[in-house]
C-alpha cells in the first residue's frame, strides 16, 4: 500500500439522520450477533451525488468517523426522489451509536438522530463487526 492511497481518498462531511427499519429490527430479535443483523445495520444511505463525490461505487465500504468513534459500513444509494446531498441516513444500531456524540449538554438525551461524521472510502476495507464495536 503506497502513501498515495491514503492521500487520494476524498473526505466528505455528512450529517447523519437515523431511522428504524422493521426488517433490521426483526433480525435483531433473532440474534443481534447474527449475519443478517450486521447486513441490515452496517449501512449508510447516501445521495448519489455524495457517492460520486466520495469516488466510490454503491456497495463499497466507507469509513465514518468523528471524535467519538469510527466504523466501517457499506454505502448504499438512498433511492429517495428528493436530493439530500450532505445528509445521509443510517438505521439506528450499534454502528450508528458508535458515532453518536456522548455530550448530551447535561440533558441526558444524546443526539441520536442528528450528528456529523467525516466519510471517506474504506478502499475495500471490511465492515466493522459487532464484536469489534463492543
Amino acid at each position: 500500500m503506497g502513501f498515495g492511497q491514503f492521500l487520494s481518498a476524498p473526505e466528505t462531511k455528512l450529517r447523519i439522520v437515523t431511522y428504524r427499519d422493521v426488517f433490521q429490527d426483526s433480525a435483531k430479535v433473532a440474534s443481534i450477533f447474527g449475519e443478517d443483523y450486521e447486513k441490515l445495520s452496517a449501512v449508510i444511505k447516501l445521495d448519489p451525488q455524495d457517492i460520486s463525490k466520495l469516488s466510490i461505487k454503491e456497495g463499497d465500504t466507507l469509513i465514518l468517523k468523528n471524535s467519538f468513534g469510527k466504523v466501517i459500513v457499506k454505502a448504499l444509494n438512498s433511492g429517495y426522489d428528493h436530493s439530500h446531498t450532505g445528509t445521509a441516513y443510517m438505521v439506528n444500531s450499534p454502528w450508528s451509536n458508535a458515532l453518536v456524540p456522548e455530550d448530551s449538554g447535561g440533558t441526558g438525551v444524546p443526539d441520536f438522530k442528528d450528528f456529523e461524521v467525516l466519510a471517506s472510502s474504506a478502499k475495500g476495507g471490511k465492515v466493522t463487526g459487532i464484536k469489534e464495536i463492543i
Binding site: 422493521v22 428528493h82 456524540p101 456522548e102 447535561g106 441526558g108 438525551v109 438522530k113
Partner: protein, 415 residues
C-alpha cells in the same frame, strides 16, 4: 374463541388477537402477528445462560451473587425495564429503594418528555380505541409506524372501520405524515399527505402551523410550500377528532416542549386534537406509570434514604458519563446496543448484572447473567400499551426458566 388469543410483546401496541398453533410444546404457527411480532415470539437463536464471571452456574448462586453485588454497592444503577413486565418493574423499584440506587429506563433518552407531559395533564390524549372509532385526521409526526409498529395503521389509526368511521379510510379519514424523509408511512399517506421538513425543523413548523391556523401567513427560515401549509391548516380546522402520533423524530427535534404545547392549544381552540407518544418497547409506558405512582416521577430517579431525587443528573446517560454509579443491574434493555458507545463504556468498569432471555451486547460484558423467560411467550404478566391501557399478557408455552418478576423478587428478598 376469544380466550384462545394471546398478546404480542413485540412492540407497545401489545396486539391482543394473536392466534398460535403448538407442536410438541413449541410454537409452530403464529397468526395475525406482524413480521416483527412473529420474530419476537419465535425468540432468539442465542439464549443467555446462567453464569457468574463467565462460569456457568445454577440460578440460586447467580441470584446470590447479584444480591451481593448490589448490597456492596453504594450507588447502584437499576436500568432497563422497557422490555419487562410490570411485576418485575415494581420489584426493580423496590430494589433501587433498598439500595439507595439510581433507577431509570429507556424513556429517559426516548419518549420520556411526552409521557411525562401526558401524565402531568399538559397534553390532551386519548386511547387507540378512540382513534379507531372516531379519528378523522391522523398525523404521524416524526413517526414511521410501518417500521416501528407495523400493525398501527391497520388495527387502529388509519384503515379499520370504526363506530363513527363506517365508510373506511378513503372517505372517512385523512392521514398525514410530517417527517424529514419520505418514510414507508409517508408513502401510504401519498404526495398530498406528506409534509417534508428539514432536520430539526419541527419547532418552526409548529409555529408556522399556529400562524396558519390563526389565519396569518406562516413564516419559516426554510423553504416551505405556504399554500400546502394553509391547506393543512384547513384540514386540521375541520377535524372532528384529530390525533397526533409523536414519534422519536419529533421528540429528538424539540429542545423544549413549548412549541408543541402552543400548537396543541391552538388546535384545541379551533378543533379537537389529541396526542399519543409512539412508545417503542412493549412496557416502557408501564414503567413510567409504575414509577410515577411510587415517586411522582416517570424516570431519572435516585433514592437516598427517605428522599427521592430526580433530574437529568440521575438519567442513565449522565450517571454513566459522570461515573456516578458503582454497579449496575440491567433488565429488559440492551444499553450497549442502544446508547452511544462513548457513554456505555463505563459499564465495563463496574460490576454488571444482566437479566434477559437472550444474549445481548450488554450481557457479553456482564459479571452475572440470569436468564428469564420471554414475557408473552414463556411467562405472563401485565404491561401498559402506548396509550396507557393495561393489558394482561398470557403465557403460551412452558419453560423451566424463571419469570423476570420471580428473579427480581428473589434478588430483592436476598438483599
Amino acid at each position: 374463541m376469544e380466550n384462545d388469543y394471546y398478546v404480542c410483546t413485540g412492540c407497545a401496541l401489545l396486539c391482543d388477537d394473536i392466534g398460535v398453533e403448538l407442536e410438541g410444546g413449541k410454537l409452530n404457527k403464529v397468526h395475525t402477528a406482524c413480521r416483527k411480532g412473529f420474530a419476537f415470539m419465535k425468540g432468539c437463536t442465542n439464549p443467555m445462560e446462567c453464569a457468574v464471571n463467565g462460569e456457568r452456574t445454577d440460578i440460586d448462586s447467580a441470584i446470590k451473587e447479584a444480591a451481593s453485588i448490589l448490597r456492596n454497592a453504594e450507588r447502584p444503577l437499576i436500568f432497563g425495564h422497557a422490555n419487562s413486565s410490570s411485576g418485575a418493574q415494581k420489584k426493580a423499584i423496590d430494589i433501587a429503594r433498598k439500595t439507595n440506587g439510581f433507577i431509570d429506563d429507556t424513556s429517559s433518552f426516548c419518549q420520556g418528555p411526552m409521557v411525562e407531559a401526558i401524565m402531568e395533564g399538559k397534553l390532551k390524549t386519548c386511547t387507540l380505541d378512540d382513534v379507531r372509532h372516531k379519528a378523522d385526521v391522523i398525523i404521524y409526526w416524526g413517526a414511521d409506524p410501518a417500521n416501528s409498529h407495523p400493525r398501527h395503521m391497520s388495527r387502529y389509526s388509519y384503515f379499520p372501520r370504526g363506530k363513527e368511521r363506517q365508510r373506511g379510510w378513503e372517505e372517512d379519514r385523512t392521514a398525514i405524515t410530517i417527517d424529514v424523509r419520505k418514510s414507508d408511512t409517508a408513502e401510504i399517506c401519498g404526495q398530498n399527505g406528506f409534509y417534508q421538513i428539514p432536520v430539526k425543523g419541527d419547532a418552526e413548523f409548529m409555529d408556522a402551523m399556529v400562524s396558519a391556523l390563526s389565519g396569518k401567513i406562516p413564516k419559516t427560515s426554510y423553504d416551505l410550500d405556504k399554500k400546502k401549509l394553509l391547506e393543512l391548516a384547513s384540514i386540521l380546522k375541520k377535524a372532528k377528532f384529530g390525533v397526533i402520533f409523536a414519534g422519536l423524530g419529533m421528540v429528538y427535534a424539540l429542545d423544549d416542549r413549548e412549541p408543541l404545547y402552543k400548537l396543541m392549544d391552538k388546535l384545541n381552540s379551533v378543533s379537537n386534537f389529541h396526542l399519543i407518544p409512539m412508545a417503542g418497547h412493549y412496557n416502557m409506558r408501564g414503567f413510567n406509570e409504575n414509577l410515577f405512582e411510587e415517586t411522582g416521577y416517570i424516570n431519572r430517579v435516585k433514592f437516598s434514604g427517605e428522599e427521592v431525587l430526580h433530574g437529568p443528573e440521575y438519567s442513565v446517560v449522565e450517571a454513566l458519563r459522570q461515573k456516578a454509579v458503582d454497579a449496575a443491574l440491567v433488565i429488559g434493555a440492551d444499553p450497549l446496543s442502544s446508547l452511544p458507545r462513548s457513554v456505555v463504556r463505563y459499564l465495563e468498569e463496574i460490576p454488571l448484572i444482566v437479566i434477559d432471555p437472550c444474549h445481548t451486547l450488554t450481557s457479553v460484558k456482564a459479571n452475572v447473567t440470569i436468564p428469564c423467560g420471554l414475557v408473552g411467550v414463556e411467562t405472563g404478566g401485565s404491561a401498559v400499551r402506548m396509550d396507557g391501557i393495561e393489558i394482561e399478557v398470557k403465557q403460551i408455552v412452558d419453560t423451566d426458566r424463571l419469570s423476570d418478576e420471580e428473579i427480581m423478587t428473589r434478588i430483592s428478598e436476598a438483599l
